[in-house]
Symmetry: C2
């Protein structure tokens, strides 16, 4: 099978771009991968580890590319588009890896030159580490990459970017931007904000020492700290750009939390028991769907997944 | 070194008791382990897998034991004490594995016969699975077991139960009951309630299908579902018996969550960025303390830890 794109340009060289470069080389080393990062330090690191051909300007990085992937925080996408638009090859496809899609469409689509198309993509994979050195070739394997066409509909162009991600090991699904943003608010954005909050609260408490929080963190809290260690710039932009869906889910969350707090306060054990029994069944569904393992000897030798 | 106890009796044969039996056999097979469970099904399973000598009454299980460990939900401890008290050997030590300590002291201490002492213990280890078949010998290895004496002070008796847990691979630390309950509210009980809540919210949403929630759960939500799959009875009792500390932490949590929601609503990116940067540093402390790993290829081959 011919690779769907012969020349891929990556704008921004962090964890995701680094992993794309490594996964692409493993899948098909004949595909040319070029890249640019705003920070001279990041460009130097990317060169040092031989991630891809690194250029000094975004214009040089995208010249001649069939596929240009914007791997920058959502808040930086409009500016990047202004820089690269005049240099995009006629017939090129622009895509991205942002965790929010309506905001990306609004930033990118009006800036596309004639003859250049856009299809969004969101690889739901990541770690709490950042930077080009954090990338690894297997990051996308058996993970979902959501494909988000401008009009929400499958087309030859969306099939092409889906084939690209499948080539890196990902499963793909087409979704429209608004539904994408709601699904991600539920499974990712709200849980991240909640984890950030809980970790901040623990840090604030003076009667439980920092040492104790750290020492005894295995007791449930550890997973929260891992989630809450994710890149601050990226997550700031996620919440600012997926504001409505996130706030809606958080509103529902607060409502439920208050009901459970009330059950605790009034000693309503039945309410608690029923709620906890219901949530247990959901876990079973996730294991059956192959998105986690049921193995009991967890959390020691192996580490944990975290995704955006 | 002589084992600190020659005959250990386990009342309740779930995940923790099962793991104690297996870990004890691995550490020193000469120690006699007897047990009782209320459910005939559980007793049959425990016999089938050869967990320990299983008796038909709690009285028979504790007869002659040097150490009796209550491995039942906190709400069942008073009743169990009433059943076993007349049958405890003079000079025996009673202990437990409950996740809350003030309530256990209140249930157990007034029921102790003369000549029998109590020192509480809380192994901060577990999985989301329940039952005797869920136990495994390495569950406590390199995990903390908090030792909670009635008066909060170290003694020959507390050293003896600490030595027992160290023999099973655990690290130990002595703590008084109220401080224990506050620390656990922060690192375990409040995070669990929050995870239960978030999973319940996702399940309630009709616009995001169950299939989507399950399918895309890797994106942060997965860790919440694992935590929220824990034993409903045990957790009901935790919240009912550690009411004040849990509600206090949840109150602080809600306060912080509202501040972050407000920052999202008003577009205060600086507030979000600063908060997320602060929480990231806490994660570093946990990795440095050896309570989690920094490895990037997480959450696939290996599974996850979860603890009470």
């Amino acid at each position: 099978m011919t690779a769907p794109f012969q020349h891929v340009a990556l704008i921004g060289l962090g964890l995701i771009a680094g992993s794309i470069a490594l996964a692409q080389r493993r899948a098909d080393p004949s595909v040319r991968v070029t890249g640019f990062a705003r920070s001279a330090q990041t460009r130097a690191t990317a060169r040092e580890i031989g991630l891809c051909e690194v250029f000094e300007t975004p214009a040089d990085a995208v010249a001649g590319a069939d596929l240009v992937i914007l791997c920058v925080p959502i808040g930086a996408m409009a500016e990047v588009m202004d820089q690269i638009a005049p240099h995009l090859k006629d017939g090129a496809l622009v895509s991205d890896v942002g965790s929010v899609k309506r905001a990306v469409l609004e930033a990118v689509v009006p800036r596309l030159p004639t003859g250049v198309a856009f299809v969004g993509a969101h690889p739901m994979a990541g770690t709490e580490h950042s930077g080009p050195h954090a990338g690894f070739a297997t990051l996308f394997e058996n993970r979902w990459t959501l494909i988000v066409p401008v009009d929400g509909k499958r087309s030859a162009r969306s099939d092409q970017i889906a084939a690209f991600w499948q080539g890196l090991g990902a499963n793909t699904e087409v979704m429209d931007a608004d539904h994408h943003d709601l699904v991600c608010a539920v499974v990712s954005h709200a849980p991240h904000l909640i984890a950030y909050t809980m970790v901040g609260v623990a840090d604030d408490l003076r009667r439980v020492t920092d040492t104790e929080v750290v020492k005894f963190s295995a007791a449930g809290f550890r997973d929260f700290t891992r989630i809450a260690a994710s890149d601050p710039t990226m997550w700031r932009d996620v919440f600012l750009t997926n504001k409505d869906a996130t706030l809606e889910i958080l509103g529902r969350f607060t409502e439920e939390l208050f009901a459970l707090q009330r059950a605790i306060r009034t000693g309503d054990g039945e309410h608690l028991y029923d709620y906890f029994t219901r949530t247990r069944a959901i876990r079973r569904g996730i294991i059956d769907a192959g998105q986690d393992t049921d193995a009991p000897d967890f959390g020691r030798a192996g580490a944990k997944g975290e995704d955006t």
